[in-house]
């Protein structure tokens, strides 16, 4: 228990201490929000789809949670050779505790990042339909964070070099974001794209957030919740299994 707590606390300390990094990591969501939110707004309105800033804000929040959580796991690559990971792996504690501590820490940080972006969205003019529903959005943020922190851990456990990292970045992380419906509505898509978006776990997270924040969505919120919960559990088990196999 102590082990999990101290490793969780470590991730939190690392996050709160790197102020410049926090600010830097807010740049990208801000750019999406401003450039797309205001830039595509007029077109979106003309298409009769309403206010684009309102629409895209949950997508941008989801994006920041995705990036932050998946990177916490992929960071294993670096940490394994030059960091603290070795220190924990030779300690007389079980690997599963280390994995849980890191994953919880990484997810907590990702949720904090998501909340920061939420505040920025509110400042930029985003208005949730019901303020009372905002805590429910937090539930979805937590599930997105856990799911992708575990996925990152599973992949990061097997990564050997920087090229592998680039590959994952370009062929997994970016597609998960762009094909999730973070930036466009999921209804009325071309058939194949429709299937692809339905296979993307982030779609359900962002759809769920959209549902609780805006009151409309493409899927049933219960489906969103169920998909995320089941997948998060599966990936946590898979991540733990892969983490157990790390050799240094």
């Amino acid at each position: 228990m102590n082990t999990i707590y101290i490793l969780w606390l470590r991730e939190l300390k690392r996050y709160t201490r790197s102020r410049s990094q926090i600010i830097a990591s807010l740049g990208q969501p801000l750019l999406y929000l401003v450039a797309l939110g205001f830039g595509l707004g007029p077109v979106f309105k003309r298409a009769g789809a309403g206010n684009y800033l309102q629409f895209v804000a949950p997508g941008v929040i989801g994006m920041s949670v995705l990036f932050s959580s998946i990177f916490s796991g992929l960071g294993l690559l670096w940490d394994r050779q030059f960091g603290f990971l070795k220190e924990t792996l030779v300690a007389p504690v079980s690997r599963i505790q280390i994995m849980i501590g890191r994953t919880l820490g990484g997810s907590t940080v990702a949720v904090m990042q998501g909340l920061l972006v939420t505040v920025i969205c509110l400042l930029a003019g985003f208005r949730p339909a019901h303020l009372a529903m905002v805590p429910l959005a937090l539930v979805f943020m937590v599930m997105i964070a856990l799911l992708f922190a575990a996925l990152g851990m599973a992949i990061g456990s097997g990564l050997e070099d920087m090229q592998g990292f680039q590959l994952i970045m370009n062929f997994l992380v970016m597609p998960i974001f762009f094909l999730s419906g973070a930036l466009f509505p999921l209804n009325g898509l071309p058939v194949i794209l429709g299937y692809v978006t339905k296979a993307d776990p982030l779609s359900y997270g962002i759809d769920g957030m959209r549902n609780v924040l805006l009151g409309h969505s493409a899927f049933d919120p219960r489906l969103d919740f169920a998909v995320l919960a089941v997948l998060a559990c599966v990936l946590l088990v898979f991540g733990a299994h892969r983490f157990n196999k790390i050799e240094i």
């Binding site: 102590n2 082990t3 101290i6 490793l7 470590r10 300390k13 690392r14 201490r17 790197s18 670096w78 050779q81 030059f82 960091g83 603290f84 990971l85 070795k86 220190e87 924990t88 792996l89 030779v90 300690a91 007389p92 504690v93 050997e160 070099d161 920087m162 050799e247 240094i248």
Partner: protein, 264 residues
């Protein structure tokens, strides 16, 4: 304290460690020497439960690290070739995490952290983030941390790599002090022969996975008929240069060098 018998490790077709046997007595400082790729790090990894031997047996303080992994881990400390500190955290916080991971009771942890940080001349800087430390200070902190849970054995894998002579000298003085005060057995690897000659009670020389010589520095020099340990080493292992193939770790080390401007 360390008992190794007929230790073998093969990777696919390559035999990294080939039938190595040696003993290290309690309180002894044992230097494990060899050219690059001779099997030093592989041996340390097997001794410290990070790698499973293909065959042969290991006993640490009488324990088999394969069957009693956690008890064995509790009994040794290790300083890796590559840094393993969390540089965002302070010196004290790094010690604290180590203490928790090794189940050191809170009170003992505080007291020993203070003792060790004072001994290794880091107490004044205890609340500074490790990233502000020099290479020598980081190394000292890693070694202090390795001693925190009062291990019976300390493994040091090239601890002085990249340090200036002053830092190296100071580091060994500290290690010797703890070795004498707590009777900790020290198992080290280094490429600096003068260091091994000065610090180690006994030396093992490994080449191509085989142990080619063993004994006190005096014995090794006498047996090879040489004046210095460096000459003895060259006589034992030849003067051909061993180019390590660029494994992922080596490539990453190069990246790290570029990004951090060299210093460790």
């Amino acid at each position: 304290m360390i008992h190794v018998q007929n230790l073998v490790k093969t990777f696919a077709a390559f035999t990294a460690v080939n039938d190595v046997s040696f003993d290290v007595a309690e309180g002894e400082i044992f230097a494990f020497l060899g050219p690059n790729g001779a099997g030093k790090t592989t041996t340390i990894k097997m001794l410290t439960t990070l790698l499973q031997p293909t065959s042969g047996s290991i006993r640490l303080d009488g324990l088999d690290p394969l069957t009693h992994q956690n008890q064995a881990r509790q009994r040794f400390g290790i300083v890796f070739q590559d840094p393993s500190l969390d540089s965002e955290l302070t010196a004290k916080e790094n010690m604290e995490i180590h203490g928790v991971l090794y189940h050191v009771p809170h009170k003992v942890r505080k007291q020993r952290t203070e003792e060790l940080l004072k001994l290794f001349e880091l107490w004044e800087r205890r609340d500074d983030q490790v990233k502000k430390f020099s290479g020598g200070m980081k190394r000292r902190l890693e070694i202090a941390r390795g001693f925190l849970h009062t291990p019976r054995i300390l493994f040091l894998d090239e601890p002085t790599l990249g340090l200036d002579p002053q830092s190296r000298n100071q580091l060994w003085t500290h290690v010797k002090k703890v070795n004498e005060a707590e009777r900790v057995t020290v198992f080290l690897t280094t490429h600096y022969m003068d260091e091994a000659d000065r610090v180690a009670h006994r030396i093992g020389v490994i080449d191509h996975g085989k142990l080619v010589a063993q004994g006190t520095p005096r014995e090794i020099k006498d047996n090879t008929g040489t004046e210095t340990l460096e000459d003895a080493f060259l006589k034992l292992t030849g003067s051909t240069i061993r180019d390590e193939s660029a494994d992922p770790a080596a490539t990453m080390r190069q990246f790290a060098k570029m990004w951090r401007g060299g210093g460790r």
